[in-house]
Symmetry: C2
Subunit: 256 residues, 2 copies
């Protein structure tokens, strides 16, 4: 039995990523979170804090993939445009919602004032379900197949813990990485392709050079497959392929 | 006189970024390289090593932006699909080209064999001009408004040095960052929006919380503008905005 491949897209929202001010680390965190659930990230986009760009990105991705995960743009400041953009995408009303407001009231009572700006974080599109934020409380939300999260990486990690149970995954694609030393891509390329062809689509192989200055170099050869038996064979084949050059091959990771 | 805004897109190509195996750092490097040339990155996408996905991404982005910069997929192995995809995008022939072949022959003579796999790196679409690779020699190329680079970050940095002179930039957007301590977004959001509104589009403001566990926190407030006078005023306004809360404000960087 072959399980369905379930695919997701990630939409990173924020001027600060495009300007180079901020190094995104959310894409990698989301991809690593989803993989063991049987969901592969098949595309990602980064757009600015511009409603039209957010709307266009979400619409393109939600039609094409099973799930969409967004980060950024749900804070209290004027450059946070994501929630309203999502309401526009789904053609629904958006306003301060009681359940979200109650979360903020409980959090901000006392020291800090729940002013109009903070109440913006309780604006939730009609029909969305909240995503808990264990870090700073202001919730994310799910609407349709789109999961809307904050941009701060620690909050993303927190919100993902309230998302896993909502995901229906498919085949879990696992990978094995074999590290070869003093071997170059051009020397193994033909054999690597032959290995992939022989699997008839069951395994995909990737080759990634590494350099450790001043003079160490080599390759990480990666096999990816949803079939554990084919993957195990592929890892052994990669080790043999490298050792046939008379150089070291190391099994860097286990299936994960 | 208002200079034209010149915009670029970045297309990161590679299964390894989408799977989370590799943390991309090329987007940030490209954005920081282009900014002082008067080119703003307005969108980025990440696609897998799948010809159709590469072609679709390039076509969408090259029609919409002044320049497109791609990374990844131009090595010697079977999962390197970018060069052929570019030929398809522009509807031109692709084959081993003499100028690219000469570069590889000079590099590989002696110790390493210039075999068929390595010769794949001399496959260049008709009409493209080469981009020098000072690290590992195999060239990138420019075709139309698309710059095709390798995926390895050190090679990207090297190739960018052969790209700058080909770029016709516009207005240089500079930024100033003011760091406030013990101040929360919700407390300054209304005033921050008022500052942006008052500039009538000359300056855009962004707000980015920071946390330094266990108990330090604050904001980076960022002003971005192509107008140096408006930017200087914006930076001073941001400092005043934060100090009005009775907390520290620090000018973190100069215009750059």
């Amino acid at each position: 039995m072959t399980q369905r491949q379930v695919k997701a897209a990630v939409l990173l929202i924020g001027d600060e990523i495009l300007s180079g001010r901020t190094q995104d680390i959310n894409l990698q965190a989301i991809a690593k979170f989803l993989a063991p659930l049987g969901v592969q990230v098949a595309e990602a986009r980064v757009v600015a804090d511009i409603p039209e760009d957010i709307i266009e990105g979400v619409n393109a991705l939600r039609a094409k993939y099973d799930y969409v995960f967004t980060t950024g743009g749900i804070g209290p400041t004027h450059d946070d445009k994501t929630a309203d953009a999502m309401a526009a995408v789904f053609g629904v009303r958006i306003d301060v919602r009681d359940d979200a407001r109650a979360i903020l009231e409980a959090h901000y009572k006392g020291a800090t004032n729940l002013n109009e700006s903070r109440l913006r974080m309780a604006r939730i599109p009609d029909g969305a379900s909240l995503i808990a934020n264990p870090v700073s409380r202001a919730p994310g939300f799910q609407i349709g197949n789109v999961f809307v999260m904050a941009g701060v990486p620690s909050i993303v990690r927190g919100m993902l813990t309230d998302i896993g149970h909502r995901i229906e995954g498919g085949a879990v694609v696992r990978s094995r990485t074999i590290r070869g030393r003093s071997v170059r891509e051009g020397d193994i390329a033909a054999d690597l392709e032959a290995l992939e062809v022989a699997t008839e689509g069951a395994v995909s192989f990737g080759s990634y050079p590494w350099f450790a200055p001043p003079d160490s170099f080599g390759l990480h050869l990666v096999a990816r497959s949803a079939d554990p038996v084919a993957l195990e064979k592929a890892a052994n084949d990669l080790i043999a392929l490298i050792r046939a050059r008379g150089v070291e091959a190391e099994d860097v990771n286990d299936a994960s």
